[in-house]
Structures are given as structure tokens and as C-alpha cells.
Symmetry: C2
Subunit: 209 residues, 2 copies
Amino acid sequence: MSNENISRRGLMLVLSSPSGAGKTTLSRRLLESDRNISLSVSATTRAMRPGEVHGKDYHFLKMEEFEAWLGEGKFLEHAMVFGNRYGTPSHLVTDELGAGRDVLFDIDWQGTQQLKEKMRDDLVSIFILPPSHDELERRLKTRAQDSDEIVAGRMAKAADEISHWPEYDYVVVNTDVEKALADIQAILNAERLRRSRQTGISEFVGRLI
Amino acid sequence: MSNENISRRGLMLVLSSPSGAGKTTLSRRLLESDRNISLSVSATTRAMRPGEVHGKDYHFLKMEEFEAWLGEGKFLEHAMVFGNRYGTPSHLVTDELGAGRDVLFDIDWQGTQQLKEKMRDDLVSIFILPPSHDELERRLKTRAQDSDEIVAGRMAKAADEISHWPEYDYVVVNTDVEKALADIQAILNAERLRRSRQTGISEFVGRLI
């Protein structure tokens, strides 16, 4: 859906949402449907789990390595979760963008803020909302035995994440997965056609006139 | 392709191109394919032609009326062509936008500049390029008896219009009409999902959490 004779810079597509909004399914479906976008591979200090592949699931780093990279400013965003470090190495992303390939980020509002500070022009951010209060509650009640307190706690966490929608470029309501996927695909395809990303237009126009 | 439960402000979609790039066909096809966008109806002082309908083809105004409106700042853009005045009355456009309907403008770079000055946030501009020099020349040679000078004159005019591509938000190359139409539809649908146009999100989120 880009202009095939014009070279372009890739873009960074961020999908954020509260849990229960269907983001994981939408990310997977988008990656399956479009060969020019791939999921950003994070670096982490947590132990590799059975079946995981270095460089595919994560870049597994020792804590000293991670902190050395951090000191050298090699991360676009990073976070500490349960004592493990996670981060997005910038050189992996900029290599993809320079080659005209798009990179998908499935991150929360805090990660999005960090990316925005460093890569404003390359970033396209979409916030996904659930269709209704009742549907959100239903999706957060994952097991029959979940107590009201547990579900209320998840709702409060979802409400906190949702409060960050004004920081995003686009908002998509996931009432129907097929429609929400089509919406995200339309945004991705449109952003590929943005004049500012099509680095080869001058050259193309030079041959035209 | 917008979020059906969230009210939104309409947008102004501008298509510009040199003649020979297929803009007229693309505009017609877009209007046929999407019920929520309609062509902007201009005002003019030229005489009504047989078959034309006031308020549909044009708003036909007397020169005194047009100039009175002009004095009152009632036009978003205006131009004089062969002694006749043409212009886009702002109230007609703002009524549509306020009702959540989109308006299509088939105008040149000068009209686009004028709209941009007054309606920056509502404007989405697309520049359509022909696929190649040879194809552009072929399309501009409309009749077999067109002299080389006539075609060269048209090419020079096209080159002048094309030089304004850097002033547009998006650039679409019309190699194939179906693909170019899909590109324009993707841009329109994506721009409808822009957070800033979805005026009802706050209210929607209020019911959600």
C-alpha cells in the first residue's frame, strides 16, 4: 500500500490499551496480514525460558551488559519489572526504519512517552479502547472464581491506563476484531503514504518532469 | 470506518494534481464509494449552463453578491478565472464539519494554500502524481492533432503544479486507479480515526470506566 517506485523510511507503530481491549489478538493479526511490519524485539535480563530463541523472542543480556548499554544511551525506552530489566535497543529499530521496514510496539503509555521523546517523527501511536464498561469487566473476569475485589482491582488498573488516551495520535474502539484490524491497517497504510516518510519523492519527481 | 459510538468532527479532504494524473476519476470514484463525504459546492459569478442546478453544481451569485460576501470574509478561498469569480463559502463547509460529515475539494495548490491558512486543523491534503514522464505526456496529448508545442506547454504547466508536492500531507502515485483509490480511502479512514477529530471520546471514556 505504499508507492512502490518511491523509497521511504519505515515507521514505528505503537499499539497501547488496557488489558481486556484485545490488543494481543490485533497485534498478532496485523503481523500475519502485513509482511512489511515486524514486532520490535526487546532486550531483557530475565532468564531464557524453554522454547525461547535469542534474537527472536528477546535479546537476552546479562545485567552488566544491559547496564553498560543503558549507560551508553543505547535504549529507546526501558523499564524494570520484578527486578528484571527490559528495553528497546535503538540500533535494531533504526536499522529497520532506514531499510524502509516498519516496526510494531506493543507497549504501555510509559514506554510510548519514552519513544515519543526520542523518535517523535517516526512514531505513529494508536490507543485501543474496549467497546463498553460491561464488556471490559467481562473480559477482565478471566476465571469464574475471580473475586469481586480482584476484578475491581483489574478495572482500576484498566481505568488508569485508559486515562492516557489523550497522548495518542489515533483512537480505535475494538467492538469487532475484523473492523478494528481494518482500522489499524488503514492507519498503517495511510501513514506509509505521508509525504514526510517518502524519502524518494524528490528523485521520482525529477524523472517525471 | 470511524468509531460508530463516538461523535466526531468532519474533515476537509483536498486532492490536487497536475492535469493528466487522473484526479477527476479518483474524485468521482471516491464520492461513489463513500456516503459520508461530498464534494464542496463552490459559489460562482459565471452564468448558469443548461442542466446545471443552483446549490448542487454551484451557488450562482451576482457579482455584487459575491463581492459583498468577499468583503464580509465569507470565503475560505477564492479566485478569478476569465473575469468570473469562484469561491468556497465558509458557512457551507463548517456546517458539514460540525455535523460530522467530510467535504472533498478538487482544487489546485493556490486554493489549498488559502484553505490551509484558515482551516489548518481540519485539512487533509493529498497530492496525486502520474506514474511516469511518458505516461503523463501520453495523457496530455489528448488529440492526435495536438502539436508538439501544445503538448510541451501542457507539460510545463503540469511541471509547475507538480513542483508544489512538498506542501501536501500525503503523496499518492496513480499507477493503477484501483490501488490509488484504495490509498485515498485508507488516508480518509485513518484521518477519521485521529484522536483530535473524535470529539466524543471523553464522553465515551466517561461511560467506560
